[in-house]
């Protein structure tokens, strides 16, 4: 069994994960086992999941099923044909998001990098360039705090912090090329996809969140950076939360609301819209950093 730490949680796990040195006390066990066809008290159901108080079940046909219980255990039932890397990739997504809800962390759909000792979150829906922007900022010397999922909560003093997440970025072939690197130098995230694990320098302690940029694309020239204010911030946090459709069903609503309010108060939030298909991601990073400094 491997021991590792991710998002401030120490895992004992049958599946190797891209984390860092663990604490002595185990918080969560990940093991292979049998996952029931349904959970007892379904309060929210989607095309691939069931959620209830303290329980979450996910099934991907022909690949794997996952059961996440009480914030302390993940059971994985893998299909015989599924490659171990496929299971690892899928485990790092939705199951971890559900686990974080159960452990009272908001799993934001975002990457985060360190700028001047604070966390800057780069959020947005799939295919809007989050990881590519984070990778470019990393190349310029900014440490990566997390990719894909950022675990956010208020610390003992009430400061909203981002916990150190995975120690790798997952980048598509085109994004690796944009960094001036060769995809062949990296391991694929799963054999069927041209998506690669790119190791990065990362932090070991949580950092206070200072700003969140929500990426979007448009068909016009130039960048558009607009502040998100008041209730728009709370709405944005919800839409950018992994599992926004089932968090209520798991009983995670009150924590999410409290933390969203704290985040809305402490963190600057902006929408950064850039031309779809732009080759120069560096220009996006320039715009982001310039805005941050202003």
């Amino acid at each position: 069994m491997n021991r590792t730490s991710l998002w401030g949680i120490t895992f004992d796990t049958d599946i190797e994960l891209p984390g860092r040195a663990p604490d002595e006390t185990t918080d969560v066990t990940i093991r292979f086992g049998s996952v029931p066809a349904t959970i007892p008290e379904v309060r929210s159901e989607g095309a691939a999941y069931q959620a209830g108080p303290g329980l979450f079940r996910l099934a991907i046909p022909g690949v794997a099923a996952f059961l996440i219980s009480g914030g302390s255990e993940i059971v994985v039932e893998a299909d015989e044909s599924a490659h171990p890397d496929t299971i690892r990739l899928l485990l790092l997504g939705t199951p971890m998001g559900a686990l974080l809800h159960q452990r009272e962390r908001i799993p934001l759909h975002a990457a985060a990098v360190e700028v001047d000792g604070r966390a800057v979150l780069i959020s947005g829906f799939s295919a809007h360039g989050k990881s590519t922007v984070a990778a470019t900022l990393h190349k310029r010397g900014h440490t990566v705090i997390s990719d894909d999922i950022c675990a956010v909560h208020a610390d003992d003093k009430g400061a909203v912090v981002v916990e150190p997440g995975t120690t790798e970025l997952q980048l598509w072939h085109d994004a690796v090329k944009r960094l001036g690197e060769e995809p062949g130098d990296y391991v694929r995230a799963r054999p069927e996809l041209q998506k690669y694990r790119v190791p990065v320098n990362t932090v070991s302690e949580p950092l206070p969140a200072s700003a969140m940029y929500v990426l979007g694309n448009h068909n016009q020239d130039g960048f558009d950076i607009a502040e998100i204010e008041s209730f728009g911030k709370v709405r944005t946090i919800l839409t950018q939360t992994r599992g926004s459709g089932y968090l209520e069903g798991m009983g995670a609503g009150p924590f999410h609301f409290r933390t969203s309010m704290a985040m809305a108060t402490q963190v600057t939030m902006k929408r950064l819209v850039w031309p779809r298909g732009i080759a120069d991601v560096g220009a996006v990073c320039d715009a982001l950093l310039e805005d941050l400094n202003s």
């Binding site: 939705t94 295919a127 598509w172 995230a189 068909n219």
Partner: protein
């Protein structure tokens, strides 16, 4: 539960024009709707609704795995909808690896199949994709033609299996177990009121003749072209010059060589004849 109406078409066949009309009809305002605010319903191949309704991130899945889950996503969308959704679709009507239709009858009220003379589709599709006409000719005749299936980057949309232009039309005309209303682009121009009224009814809407007339007027080609020139159109391909091009019938005569036109006619003769685009071996439009 509000079953979905699919607005299905091969690309560049009047789908956006019809959605503009529908948005104007449902909005019922004197001013034409902003073309960047159509919101008739997301395209069926969009990532975000899939991610919301599965709880997954589609970018971690293969295209075949996505297709296995898509029918369940559309069922969830229909179950949770307060109003009937009118969702654009460019996929052919196909089955996934489990032999399940991508667009399940249980989630569906019906479909409007928008179709256009392939001779006019070819130059328009080429312009849309910033490619030459020869590329579009190949696409229209390629049984393996897909959209958004490049494996090296994360596309904003899922792979959409199209097949040839004839395959696409045949799939929507002959396969679905739900009602499919065929609407020709040419009839939207030449017999607008009757055609839009028929399509409106197929969308499950009972708007009056006057409302339909006014919505047609607010959705004119000149209006959408003017708006695109003024503020751009979010649905345009990044590399393409513009989304709205000529909006004319028969402009293929200025864009295709005789050899190119003959190839399309030869390849698609049966379906062209069936849809009234070919009579006695000659193009109707």
């Amino acid at each position: 539960m509000k079953p979905i109406v699919w607005l299905a078409s091969y690309p560049k066949s009047g789908n956006t024009w019809f959605r503009t009309f529908l948005a104007n009809l449902l909005r019922d305002d004197e001013d034409p709707i902003d073309i960047n605010e159509l919101r008739t319903g997301s395209i069926a191949s969009a990532r975000n609704p899939f991610d919301v309704h599965t709880g997954l991130e589609a970018s971690d899945l293969t295209q075949d795995e996505v297709d296995l889950l898509r029918p369940g996503v559309y069922l969830r969308m229909a179950e949770m909808a307060v109003h009937t959704g009118h969702h654009k679709v460019h996929d052919a009507y196909t089955l996934n690896c489990d032999a399940m239709p991508l667009f399940p009858a249980d989630a569906t009220l019906g479909a409007v199949y928008l179709v256009r003379n392939p001779l006019d589709v070819a130059p328009s599709y080429a312009h849309h994709s910033a490619r030459d006409v020869a590329w579009a000719m190949e696409a229209l005749c390629d049984p393996n033609h897909n959209m958004s299936d490049g494996p090296r980057r994360l596309n904003p949309q899922f792979r959409q299996i199209l097949g040839t232009w004839s395959d696409h039309a045949r799939s929507w005309l002959d396969e679905p177990p739900f009602p499919v209303e065929v609407v020709r682009y040419e009839d939207m121009h030449l017999d607008a009121e009757a055609t839009f009224t028929r399509a409106t009814r197929a969308c499950g809407l009972d708007h009056s003749a006057e409302q339909i007339r006014e919505a047609i007027a607010r959705s004119s080609f000149d209006e959408v072209k003017r708006q695109e020139q003024e503020k751009g159109f979010a649905e345009k391909m990044p590399s393409s010059e513009s989304f709205f091009r000529k909006g004319k019938i028969g402009s293929w005569r200025e864009s295709l060589t005789q050899e190119q036109a003959d190839r399309i006619i030869t390849h698609h003769a049966e379906m062209m004849q069936r849809l009234g685009y070919l009579e006695g071996g000659s193009p109707v439009f």
